[in-house]
Symmetry: C2
Subunit: 218 residues, 2 copies
């Protein structure tokens, strides 16, 4: 059965998936880009952004696994762009990801504001879903046509799927930096995370990879 | 100059230094003992509790470092025992740690309730400090006579010294388990941790060791 997965969720030693003051100039919050340096050092991470070179090894393998068998992705609106409220009528701004986003498959954006589908270069089409996380999941599984669906982030979107017990597995990379404040991954979980267990620990020289799976029905 | 250090702070993947519902039967909260299995598997960790055997290697080395050069320890009242309010007049209950606590030096217990010093076997004497964290620190440095002082825990005590910028360095071991809820290490920090940086990442096969130092004056 197709699964809902989250991969390469980079979290600081003090628990943050983004630094404070997320905005147009700092989409990952202050200091947040430091969470992803290990990924940009890998071959798969670099290729994803059109760059050559990069290291192979444990980190590269985890980055690559994040794409394997994935047919559609769900992201929160913040991961599409920093704009708030209704979409601009001109709709000229098409997200953080440039003309050719690194997804190459349908991407479902959780939002409160409807907008027509937005086809981009390279096979990515952004679909804007206003009916909530379960509707987005149904649409994503349909689009994936038997392949798995990925929750791309951010923290709030992952939390919504965790709270609902809908996420089958997640891979967290603990990064040895302190952000001090920001947006936590394991937060807003209605009194705690239940029904999940950490089943894998694979540290590299840069980060500590943890694999978490759902062990109880959602 | 003598330092204030914290060592072997075991924290779950989701950030908890103790599980929920800490009490007489579960001093580390529900599931909290799982945070320390890696330590009890080491030679130094076992020796500390009068047991033979145990593994050497990275984890053992970190456990041993936690004792090196330490002349006195400060702990919160919860780490002495679960009793709340004024001490019982009979004072027959002498803490979690048994007749011969694994400190072998003066231990300063933060409390709101005065109690005479309590000498135990093996060189540990518990002193009960009611004048706050700075007074405890002064007394501990005096007792350590030039050696370093350790903050033993728990989370709330570490946080108080972090907030005051008095902790010079800390060693955190991220343990690949989920506790779901409980008491976080990096919490109650008045809007965030400031002036500290993670300067070391040494994963073992069991946990991810992180070394954090103060980089700005407290």
């Amino acid at each position: 059965m197709a699964k809902l997965r989250a991969h390469n969720l980079a979290v600081s030693l003090d628990g943050y998936m983004a630094g404070p003051d997320q905005g147009v100039d700092t989409p990952l919050g202050v200091g947040g880009t430091r969470l992803h340096e290990w990924a940009f050092a890998t071959r798969s991470g670099r290729r994803m952004h059109g760059m050559e070179g990069g290291a192979q090894g444990i980190d590269d393998s985890f980055i690559a696994q994040g794409d394997e068998g994935i047919g559609a992705t769900i992201i929160g609106r913040n991961m599409f762009g920093p704009v708030r409220g209704p979409w601009d009528a001109s709709e000229e701004w098409n997200g953080w990801w440039g003309d050719e986003p690194p997804y190459h498959h349908p991407v479902f954006v959780l939002t409160h504001h409807p907008r027509p589908p937005l086809p981009m270069q390279g096979g990515t089409t952004f679909y804007f879903v206003t009916e909530g996380i379960e509707a987005a999941l149904d649409q994503a599984f349909a689009a994936a046509a038997g392949a798995d669906v990925r929750v791309g982030g951010g923290a709030s979107t992952v939390q919504q799927y965790l709270r609902a017990g809908l996420l089958d597995e997640l891979h967290v990379a603990i990064v040895p930096i302190l952000l001090g404040q920001g947006e936590r991954l394991f937060d807003n979980l209605d009194g705690g995370l239940h029904g999940y267990e950490c089943v894998g620990f694979s540290p590299s020289a840069s980060v500590a990879h943890m694999r978490v799976v759902r062990v109880a029905a959602g």
